[in-house]
């Protein structure tokens, strides 16, 4: 059990160590920045596409939506339009709540044995931490655009200003920095401390958590402790997306640690559970309307069956049947 936790942790620490060494040696810096980023971006982009296309090639022969409410039936029975949709509009609503608000996590229940009774009760921690983590990550990713593109789009500057609106410290600490740190730590504690969750957790569950925690910590250290020349970082990032890569001098090793962890995350993305980013849209238990009996659903790989009628049979064996004196419909 411990190897499931310690192995991914060791891998993350090894990446940190390698990047720390590689980032300190100036002739290795192009390898640890430009080359690494292009390779990681390519793996992410094409890997993601390939995975989704592969999924789209799998037929879904019948409707398998999860029916989390009363299905459409008789007019006097109240129909759960979003939880058990039978129209495209209902499915769109359901997908919106699932993708944007994590509705299925909101329904999370805990089960305990309390004085001999099996009690189910709602628990919202997982939903809260997951929501906080995902939105923080999204905002942080958008904020990073300021280092990739120039002139900086207005929405990035606005988001930056709103995220740092409390102006605590210099450079100001972002709200999402605090929430992502709290939420990722919370999600890790959940895996480590809840016995049932820990039992089903694998190395592939811990690895992204350690990676993301490493990214957050290295990013915070770079911003607040081991400062790097941000204009040099922008010149690097801007050069990469403009296909004129340069590696300016004087970027501290901490930057290469941050970058190596990010590149590992995005290169690992298409092969991991992180593909739920694309997968949530592809999941037939969410995106199908519950029209099992309302509409005719034809098996997508159905071919018209080959019938062999008695007439054909008789044509085939007429001679032999005649010889054996069997009765024939046609002579």
């Amino acid at each position: 059990m411990a190897a499931r936790i310690l192995f991914p942790l060791a891998v993350v620490l090894a990446i940190v160590a390698v990047a720390l060494i590689g980032g300190s040696i100036s002739f290795l810096q192009p390898l640890f920045s430009v080359a690494l980023l292009y390779v990681a971006f390519a793996i992410f982009f094409f890997g993601f596409m390939a995975k989704v296309i592969n999924w789209a090639k799998s037929p879904v022969p019948f409707r398998i939506p999860t029916t989390a409410g009363q299905e459409f039936s008789l007019p006097w029975i109240k129909w759960a339009k979003i939880d058990n949709p039978s129209t495209t509009g209902g499915v769109l609503m359901r997908m919106f709540f699932e993708v944007c608000l994590f509705r299925s996590l909101f329904r999370n229940m805990r089960t305990d044995l309390r004085s001999g009774w099996l009690i189910h009760s709602p628990t919202k921690w997982l939903w809260l931490l997951a929501l906080g983590f995902h939105y923080s990550f999204l905002i942080i990713a958008i904020r990073h655009l300021r280092l990739f593109v120039h002139p900086i789009p207005g929405f990035v500057e606005t988001l930056d200003a709103v995220d740092g609106m409390f102006q605590i410290g210099i450079p100001p600490i972002y709200l999402t920095d605090i929430t992502i740190l709290l939420c990722v730590t919370g999600l890790l504690i959940r895996r480590l401390c809840l016995p049932k969750v820990r039992f089903i957790s694998l190395a592939a569950d811990y690895f992204p958590l350690f990676l993301i925690l490493g990214i957050v910590i290295s990013g915070l250290l770079m911003r607040f402790v081991f400062r790097v020349d941000i204009t040099a970082v922008k010149a690097l990032a801007n050069g990469i997306v403009s296909f004129h890569p340069v590696v300016p001098k004087g970027i501290g090793a901490i930057f290469f640690v941050h970058l190596a962890l990010v590149c590992t995350l995005i290169a690992y993305f298409p092969f991991s559970k992180l593909m739920h980013m694309g997968g949530v849209f592809m999941s037939p238990t969410r995106n199908l309307a519950n029209t099992t009996r309302m509409a005719y659903h034809e098996n997508p790989w159905r071919k018209p069956p080959k019938f062999h009628s008695y007439e054909e049979y008789e044509d085939m064996y007429r001679e032999y049947m005649k010889e054996a004196g069997l009765p024939l419909e046609r002579e």
């Binding site: 296309i53 879904v60 296909f243």
Partner: protein, 132 residues
């Protein structure tokens, strides 16, 4: 591929978001800014040197100035002793901007490039009159 219409629309949205930074710059990066040191006060200096060494000032000036503010305004101590043991009078307008009298060509260059909007100028003004 099943439901190819919907899947292709989804993949196009994904590709559009992912490729946005690659397309936005049209393949030509913005020039890395060079803050100008071309002011009369700096030209007159016998040795072109800031309060601390250049690399430190480039990466850490914001934290440094924040400490200056705290020391001057909260502790009431306006003398800073740098790493070489030289005493410096703590004042943004009278010390920093005395040499760097070209805010537009100096401060703003990198701040605009990196999308940083420091709140120095909520209280301070530029005595050399450049529009803020």
């Amino acid at each position: 591929m099943y439901d190819s219409g919907k899947v292709i629309i989804g993949l196009l949205i994904f590709a559009g978001i992912f490729l946005f930074p690659f397309l936005y710059n049209h393949g030509s990066p913005a020039a890395k800014p060079k803050p100008s040191l071309d002011t009369p006060a700096i030209k007159a200096l016998p040795e072109k040197k800031c309060v601390e060494d250049t690399q430190f000032m480039i990466t850490t000036h914001m934290q440094f100035l924040n400490n200056w503010r705290d020391q001057a305004l909260r502790d009431g101590n306006r003398w800073y002793v740098n790493k070489e043991g030289k005493k410096v009078w703590i004042s943004l307008q009278n010390t920093c901007l005395k040499c760097h009298s070209n805010k537009k060509e100096f401060c703003n260059k990198c701040h605009n490039y990196a999308g940083v909007d420091p709140y120095c100028w909520d209280c301070h003004y530029d005595p050399n009159g450049s529009k803020l």
